[in-house]
Amino acid sequence: MAQIRVENLRKSFDQFTAVQGSNFTVDDGTFFAMLGPSGCGKTTTLRMIAGLELPTEGKILLDGEDVTFRRAAARDIAFVFQLFALYPHMNVADNIGFPLKCQGMGRTEVRQLVQETARLLRIEHLLSSKTSKLSGGDRQRVALGRAMVRRPKAFLMDEPLGALDAEFRHLMCGELRDLHDRIGATTVYVTHDQLEAMSMADQIAVMNKGRVEQIGSPQEIYDRPASMFVADFIGSPPMNFLRFEGGLKSGDRAISFHDASIAVPEIREDRARAPLALGVRPEHIRFADAAAVRGEVFGAEYLGTTQIVTVDTAHGRLAARLPSSASVRIGERVGLEFRSERLALFDVGSGLAVRTANDGSAGHG
């Protein structure tokens, strides 16, 4: 197993820059997710780590060893593709045993390792089947088996659950994480699905337009987004932004929001007057008649234990997550109160978060 380090990695295709100067370290045994919208460069980054694409600039280190320009086969890394890429002209056992055969391992040894791997994945009964006869989930297990069988230094997975239906995806999420823990492998997992990333990963790198916006645990990313993009991308519905103009002073515990004063976590940096945004997660909004921000209920979406209520305010449309028991009438005028210790502030110009007491002494980044 191994540590993966990426230094100033850049990749351009003709005019288009897919990845611009990425830096991150995936520690040994970590389940690391790269999350972002399509076209954000996450797959290109993964393919460069695998050796399927050569970087324009930068370095890739595996356990401290520079492998930037090494052949894919020589990196001892396994790759799981979204479309499984099982060889259609081979059966399940041959597919799983293929990487071992490539290395020139003897037949009995291959058979034994294939058996072992199949047992781990619970697909022993499928070993002699044709891959075209398998269900999506079983194909995915075979693809995983082919990746696992030679015990590589790291697993790279490119949206491996993207081709499965929703119900199955959930099941496979659990299985994947379980498998990761049992093998203790380093895994880099690319997805555009925040739920997959949040539920499986130890560390998430959120990417946008070829840049890494934030790296952190799922909780850090959710609670303390480093930028408006991250705040907007993570969470469903996403964080609400209330725009205002104002200056900030280190030590302030409230902001002047239009005419009102709203309590926020203690601010840790000075800002000249500039367009700012107050970030509020839907679950941190409560109805309170005395509140300064007021609006009219536009609609409600029932989700079982909670409901998402949309409210039109003078500062835009906000989504609030309320218990289903709360009775809400459309058209009703309501006051909105925010949980002050969970609020975030952003500089609209740069899109970056303003440092507050929530970021702790370490700061963000």
Binding site: R71, F81, Y87
Partner: protein, 320 residues
């Protein structure tokens, strides 16, 4: 309710009505008859005697003879009946057949070496065109090649005029290079004509094969060349077979360059067949016999690859 449903499916867009099926079937049979008839006529003519072959009105019922085939494979001289009577008795059935016509066999004709030329040049150039075409198509399909579109257009542009338009420059070049009337020269020429077709056809097929297959193989320990050979090619077999048939049909049938550039050593069947001369002009049964034999390899090759061909022609035609 059920009846209504049944009636509605009778006119559904997927299920053809019995009448349209009958019409379609009839058309297919008619087309088959029209295309097969000339072929059958040639096969039959090969078994006719000289006079039956040119009889008017044409004879459908005739007494079959192997004279056409014997004439095709031999060179004969006419002798007086006295001379023939003095010869020792004929050793073989074809000796006997020839002597009945007051002739003796003087030696084998050139049909066998010509046929061998056709085989070597046809299959040799097909192999080369498909081999080079596969490599080029793979490169165009998978790698970022500078000016790829211009190169592909350039390759295609070699097909934009009839090859015969450049016959004279090629003849002069070949004479300078001592390639006229050599098998190598003909193989190179047919390869050059076919390779553009091969590149374009095969690029379409290889584009359809997901790159993940070979990328998986690359990560798992194969080199690029191994991945191409053991992962991509098995999946491109259909396209390769279809391309090979198209290339073979061209180089097998090619006439104009063969007439121009070959006369002896490297002459192929197409220029040879029309000049099979018997006594008093064209020996039609022998020509028909040569044509029959000439068609056999192509038919065999196509039948052997039929399974792939059917998929190959439609595959790649539909873009996602």
């Amino acid at each position: 309710m059920t009846a209504a449903v049944a009636r509605s499916t009778a006119h559904s867009i997927v299920e053809a009505s019995p009448r349209s099926k009958a019409v379609a079937g009839g058309l297919v049979i008619l087309y088959a008859v029209i295309t097969i008839l000339p072929l059958l006529w040639i096969v039959a003519t090969a078994f006719k005697s000289q006079s039956d072959a040119i009889a008017y009105p044409p004879k459908v019922i005739f007494e079959p003879t192997l004279e056409g085939y014997v004439n095709l494979f031999t060179v004969r001289t006419r002798q007086t009946p006295d001379f023939i009577a003095k010869l020792p008795p004929p050793e073989t059935w074809y000796d006997k057949l020839v002597r009945q016509r007051d002739m003796v066999i003087a030696g084998p004709s050139k049909v066998v070496p010509r046929f061998v030329n056709s085989l070597i040049i046809g299959f040799g150039s097909t192999f080369l065109a498909v081999f080079l075409g596969t490599l080029a198509a793979y490169a165009f399909s998978r790698f970022r090649i500078p000016l790829a579109d211009d190169l592909l257009f350039f390759i295609l542009s070699t097909r934009m005029m009839p090859p015969v338009a450049v016959a004279i420059p090629i003849y002069l070049m070949y004479r300078q290079l001592n390639l006229t009337d050599t098998r190598l020269g003909m193989i190179l020429l047919y390869t050059a004509v076919n390779v553009s077709l091969a590149v374009w056809l095969l690029k379409g097929f290889i584009d359809e094969i997901p790159r993940e297959y070979e990328e998986a193989a690359l990560v798992d320990g194969y080199t690029r060349l191994q991945a191409l050979r053991k992962v991509v090619l098995p999946q491109a077999v259909t396209g390769i077979a279809a391309t090979a048939i198209f290339c073979l049909i061209f180089s097998w049938n090619e006439y104009a360059f063969a007439v121009l550039l070959t006369s002896g050593e490297a002459q192929t069947m197409p220029p040879f067949i029309p000049f099979i001369i018997g006594e008093g002009g064209q020996d039609w049964p022998a020509v028909a016999a040569a044509t029959t034999l000439f068609v056999v390899p192509i038919v065999l090759f196509t039948v052997l690859l039929r399974k792939h061909l059917l998929r190959g022609i439609t595959f790649g035609a539909v873009r996602k």
